[in-house]
């Protein structure tokens, strides 16, 4: 129930963001925003922006999310080449480590700029 509410809220903001850009019309910029805008994905990118790398378990504890949820969102970011994923073994224990790519850092910067622009615009208006 709470998840559905959060999803509706996300969609509503995405719609408003597109409107701010003059409709968006499925433009590349709108697509990038949607990817970063979701809370868990925004959290992953923000956390990796201040660390060289973070393990799956570190991210899970930091974002207080489940294995499945983190895994799905991390995969989406990986597919967009915003983060890289390295799998290795520490002894016999598998370890998954994530790093932010240059494209991911640029996407976060664009997102921050966009949020700041929105605040600026609404205050002036």
């Amino acid at each position: 129930m709470a998840k559905q509410g959060a999803a509706r809220k996300t969609e509503a903001v995405e719609h408003e963001l597109k409107s701010e850009r003059g409709g968006g019309g499925g433009s590349r910029a709108a697509e990038l925003d949607r990817l970063i805008h979701e809370r868990v994905r925004l959290g992953i990118v923000s956390a990796l922006a201040v660390n060289d790398s973070l393990s799956f378990n570190q991210l899970k504890a930091l974002l207080k999310t489940t294995d499945g949820n983190l895994s799905v969102h991390a995969r989406r970011l990986e597919e967009a080449q915003y983060i890289t994923c390295t799998k290795s073994f520490e002894g016999r224990i598998p370890k998954t480590e994530y790093r932010l790519t240059a494209a991911g850092r640029r996407a976060l910067e664009r997102y921050l700029d966009h949020m700041e622009a929105l605040i600026h615009a609404t205050r002036q208006g």
């Binding site: 408003e16 930091l62 605040i119 609404t122």
Partner: protein
């Protein structure tokens, strides 16, 4: 029916979320390298002065004086570096570093009084070095990796001081508070911006 939140409120909320996530995930990088080098130099001078003191009370007074000087140098250097690298001391990783570093220092102060009253002078160098190292190991969990490594080195020197001959105490204080501060301070200054 609840009115929708204004757009700029949501944008502010998103920015706040990003900042809080970065604070929770980030490291405290304002441990001052050059400040530590300066503290190391004053500790070497204190060790030299302490060997020339005729009574244990004056020896203790010399090292307590050095602790005050070190606190002033280290504290001001940390505040300066925190401002320079835009790393807040009173929130996020800085706050967690301080809250983890402080308890061993308080315990060190209390044990100094207790050991002084009991006349256990020879236990003071080991106790100081061990608790100072403990502070960097616990606080270092929220800082860059070299900080807890430095803490472990202090603890090793402290263990030697605690169980080694009493005559080594002053020289191990010089090696720890002098040598380790200078060595690790230079590494931190070079790798982590001053």
């Amino acid at each position: 029916m609840v009115a929708p939140r204004p757009l700029h409120d949501r944008a502010l909320d998103n920015l706040r979320f990003i900042r809080q996530t970065m604070e929770r995930a980030g490291s405290f990088t304002a441990v001052p390298g050059w400040g530590q080098v300066a503290v190391g130099v004053t500790a070497l001078a204190a060790a030299f002065l302490a060997t020339r003191q005729p009574t244990p009370e004056l020896w203790l007074a010399t090292w307590l004086g050095e602790a005050i000087v070190a606190l002033a140098i280290g504290g001001s250097a940390m505040v300066r570096k925190a401002y320079a690298v835009n790393d807040p001391i009173l929130s996020g990783p800085g706050r967690r570093f301080g809250l983890s570093f402080l308890p061993p220092m308080v315990v060190g102060g209390l044990l100094t009084v207790a050991l002084y009253r009991a006349g256990l002078w020879h236990a003071l160098p080991g106790t100081w070095l061990l608790l100072y190292g403990t502070g960097f190991v616990t606080g270092g969990a929220f800082s860059v990796r070299i900080v807890p490594v430095m803490g472990i080195c202090f603890m090793l020197v402290g263990a030697v001081a605690l169980f080694g001959p009493a005559a080594w105490g002053n020289w191990l204080l010089a090696a720890g508070f002098g040598g380790l501060h200078i060595g690790f301070g230079m590494i931190i200054a070079r790798r982590y911006g001053g």
